[in-house]
Assembly symmetry: C2
Homo-oligomer: 201 residues x 2
């Protein structure tokens, strides 16, 4: 081992940055604060992460890992496509509430989207592709359009949740928007739209 075996510097830096971002938001992640918290000097940070943006990216990636992990755990995978979409929606909202300081950094209002941003969208898109093949989307609604619409509305609701995680009334808001989108995108008479999935999981 090149260095102190117990204290991996990169991991310490990342953990410190993640904690600061979770508590005070991504803007509070200053290189000096992170270095102090990790007990390390500035060049080490730049050696491991390139620059501050790289560090933030790593933090956001870690947050996405946590996000996908939670989402997998909450996947219902039963027949009703509405329930599947609703569960994904609710998992997304639950994550925004659990990490209100991190959410805006994961879905930034300006600047390039994080790398896992696309992966998150592809998951949703795959589900709608399946529905489209099964003819379960409403007329005029393509899988791309459904993905785009649901995602935009979801982000708006999640931002509201992240902005005030304590307000319990936000749950009803989320449910109303969620059901409005599901109703507008998915046809009414859908039973099980996944003939292409022979086995469970």
């Amino acid at each position: 081992m090149l260095q102190n075996p117990a204290a991996d510097v990169r991991a310490r830096l990342l953990a410190a940055a993640f904690e600061i971002a979770r508590r005070d938001g991504a803007d509070a992640v200053t290189t000096r604060a992170v270095c102090t918290a990790a007990g390390v000097q500035a060049p080490s940070l730049y050696h491991h992460f390139g620059d501050r943006a790289g560090l933030i990216r790593a933090v956001v990636d870690a947050a996405f890992e946590e996000y996908f992990h939670r989402k997998d755990a909450a996947a219902p995978d039963d027949g009703d496509p509405r329930a599947r979409v609703a569960a994904g929606w609710d998992a997304h909202i639950a994550f925004a509430r659990a990490y209100p300081g991190l959410y805006p950094a994961m879905y930034p209002a300006s600047g390039p989207p994080p790398s896992q941003f696309e992966r998150s969208g592809a998951l949703l898109r795959a589900g709608f592709d399946e529905l489209e093949r099964a003819g379960a989307l409403r007329p005029g609604i393509t899988a791309a359009l459904a993905t785009s619409a649901l995602r935009a509305a979801l982000r708006g609701v999640a931002l509201k949740i992240a902005g005030d995680p304590g307000d319990p009334g936000n749950d009803r808001t989320s449910a109303v928007v969620r059901d409005a989108l599901i109703h507008a995108l998915i046809a009414d008479d859908v039973r099980d739209p996944s003939p292409s999935r022979p086995g469970p999981r």
Copy 2:
């Protein structure tokens, strides 16, 4: 006289900051860049605006003025409440497309919302209050809930638009989300829900 009497320093600073924010986003509004563009030294900026946040606030207020001005011009005010809501939605979206750098600052993901934020919401709320009194909202949908839901979804779509103002496909996304919300909030059999308004206008 030290300078051109017609050129009010405060106005010059505000105009410079507005232009920078419009072109490159609010983050690009540095005190030095604004002072240089306005041909003024730093203390004048702080004399007129207190601090950088105050300057940004003034820029956002000016943007909201422009927003309300545009929205008033686009108000249809005919009978159908759906058309009214849809027109307000489209005006909001059009503004986000016209000022993509300013929009995220007007509806920030974190930090205190701008003062005119509430005014913007009150306008929407007043319309839904009217619909609620007329019994035009769907069962279980209060005016407060309708306002919250429509606003959250609208913000999500507007952020998407502001993030990529050139993509024409975003228009369909906006229309889908808009109509989904209108359908979910407003009852089907509404003709003219404004009995409290005797005359036109």
